[in-house]
């Protein structure tokens, strides 16, 4: 859990307080903290003067606006057909072994979350993943090990 603090105010100052500011504000919180807490959504509701249910309603519609705890690095593995055909299974297996978590879980130190996602638009360079917003493509098990090692050293 994190405390959202002044972030909602800062984002509202930047994007405005009308209804169409809701998405950029929620995206801004997720960019900083990787997921939305109840506290954060209530704070947004207050700032925009709409109901918290309305904020949750919008947030829960979008897969990238997570309302469950997510790690600092969210790994999204594409599971759509071409990535599936080109070795997505081995990528998942390698990630699960390395991070000692299953798909849908977050590591105990809240550094990594591993989830599957639908087509991310890299079919010609499959298999592909996103780590936060950064795409990694044409992956092999060797490549993914190197990439994750890099992130592990970053923390």
């Amino acid at each position: 859990m994190y405390h959202v603090g002044n972030l909602v105010k800062e984002l509202s100052d930047k994007h405005g307080r009308s209804r169409e500011s809701l998405m950029p504000i929620l995206q801004g919180i997720v960019e900083r903290h990787n997921y939305l807490t109840d506290e954060a959504m209530v704070e947004v509701a207050k700032e925009l003067d709409i109901s918290a249910a309305d904020v949750y309603g919008t947030a829960s519609f979008y897969t990238f606006l997570d309302t469950k705890v997510r790690g600092k690095y969210v790994i999204r593995v594409c599971k759509t057909i071409t990535c599936s055909m080109k070795g997505k299974g081995e990528i998942i297996q390698t990630l699960e072994d390395m991070l000692k978590i299953k798909v849908g879980e977050t590591t105990a130190d809240q550094q990594f979350s591993l989830i599957e996602t639908n087509c991310i638009g890299w079919c010609h360079k499959a298999p592909a993943i996103l780590i936060n917003e950064i795409p990694y493509t044409e992956l092999t098990t060797e490549k993914i090990v190197e990439i994750i090692k890099g992130y592990m050293q970053k923390k």
Binding site: S18, R19, E20, S21, L22, M23, P24, L26, Q27, V30, G57, T58, F61, Y62, T63, F64, L65, K79, T80, I81, T82, S84, M85, T117, N118, C119, I120, G121, W122, C123, H124, K125, A126, L130, E133, I134, P135
Partner: protein, 386 residues
């Protein structure tokens, strides 16, 4: 089989002096711009294929001071990745197309709705936008473009769902009519066009409608950027003249063992080998927003179908029952058939369900689930059952 080389075209990625083209457009009347786009025969490049000139004409006809041009960059169809490449390589042409469209319909605001999966591109795109704004100010245009970012919802590529998302809501499609041309984003008249459509429109203004309409066929004018993936030695992005048969396409891009091509992504059509020769890629045959996936004989079409159905079951917005329940039941249904829990004739019931979804679903998502379902089940029935 006759082997004929495909006509590769370089229109979308061709470097142009956008200032020159936009200065030319600035001196044209709105009607002239619309007429040129109408004459070119350009149809929307996102997949639905509505004539772009007509869309602009209808939006231009509405008397309303505030109008919008929306660039649909929520490219989510499985197997499509050309819009990312276009934005990455020639974003200034996308912006140029928006300015021209704005001039045509009388809009001063442009919105690019970029899918969340492409957020990594945003800093570079914003930078280019800044210098672009300076350039058009210099010509005399009164037009501003903003970015809106999606957050991982396929349905937001549907135009009215996209508007809902821009307005800060759940991306649930609206009832139509009213159409966007009269009531689009923020309830204002809106022309919403695909990334590639906007670039093409700009190139039509540059080269003239005659040279553009010489490419392609009567029903499918011009060229198209294809996103090619699957079992092919040369996956990637290729701009080709429209009007080729699937056979000609496979001759060029297949691995020698192609058994099926999925044209138009998960919401498109599966063409089996026996129909390659006489199936045309285009509006007279199988239309595509660019997605072309090749499958060779090592692939199970059951897995392909199951993957697509899973995709739809997850991406259905859940608003209307035929789509929400239909997608789930199709997944369960093919699983039951595969496991032998029901007779194989149960597939006929599922085909009826897919037909019902086509007529009863609210938007294009539910309406097109049946395309892949029917064409895969009918052509590869034994692979689904055994």
């Amino acid at each position: 089989m006759e082997k004929r080389g495909l006509n590769k075209v370089d229109l979308i990625f061709e470097k142009v002096d956008s200032k020159e083209v936009l200065t030319k457009a600035y001196k044209m009347k709105s009607d002239e711009i619309i007429q040129q786009v109408l004459d070119s025969g350009l149809k929307g490049r996102g997949g639905a294929g509505f004539p772009t000139g007509l869309k602009w004409k209808y939006t231009a006809a509405v008397k309303e001071p505030e109008k919008y041009i929306v660039c649909n960059a929520d490219e989510g169809e499985p197997g499509t990745f050309k819009d990312r490449e276009i934005l990455d390589k020639v974003a200034y042409k996308v912006y140029g197309g928006m300015v021209i469209a704005g001039k045509a319909i009388g809009a001063k605001h442009g919105i690019v709705y970029l899918r969340g999966e492409y957020r990594f591109l945003l800093p570079q795109l914003m930078k280019e936008l800044e210098s672009f704004h300076k350039m058009i100010d210099g010509i005399g245009y009164d037009f501003k473009i903003n970015y809106c970012l999606g957050s991982g919802a396929y349905i937001c590529g549907e135009e009215s769902a996209l508007f809902e998302s821009v307005e800060g809501g759940r991306g649930e499609p609206r009832n139509k009519p009213p159409y966007p041309t009269t009531s689009g984003v923020f309830g204002k008249p809106t022309s919403i066009n695909n990334v590639e459509t906007l670039v093409t429109a700009m190139m039509i203004i540059r080269h003239g409608p005659e040279s553009y309409s010489q490419l392609g066929t009567k029903d499918s004018r011009g060229s198209k950027v294809f996103s090619i993936s699957g079992d092919t030695p040369t996956p990637g992005i290729f701009e080709l003249e429209l009007g080729m048969s699937v056979q000609e396409f496979v001759n060029e891009f297949g691995d020698g063992d192609t058994k099926a091509v999925q044209v138009g992504g998960a919401s498109g059509f599966c063409v089996p080998r026996k129909k390659f020769a006489y199936t045309v890629i285009g509006f007279e045959g199988v239309p595509t927003g660019g997605s072309m996936k090749l499958f060779n004989s090592s692939r199970s079409m059951y897995n392909v179908l199951h993957n697509y159905l899973d995709f739809f079951a997850e991406e259905s917005c859940g608003q209307c029952t035929p789509c929400r329940v239909g997608c789930q039941q199709l997944v369960k249904g093919v699983e039951k058939v595969k496991k032998g829990e029901v007779k194989s004739t149960y597939l006929n019931e599922l085909l009826k369900l897919a037909d019902t979804m086509k007529v009863a679903s609210k938007c294009g998502l539910g309406q097109s689930v049946g395309n892949a379902f029917r064409t895969i089940v009918e052509n590869f029935r034994e692979e689904i059952i055994y």
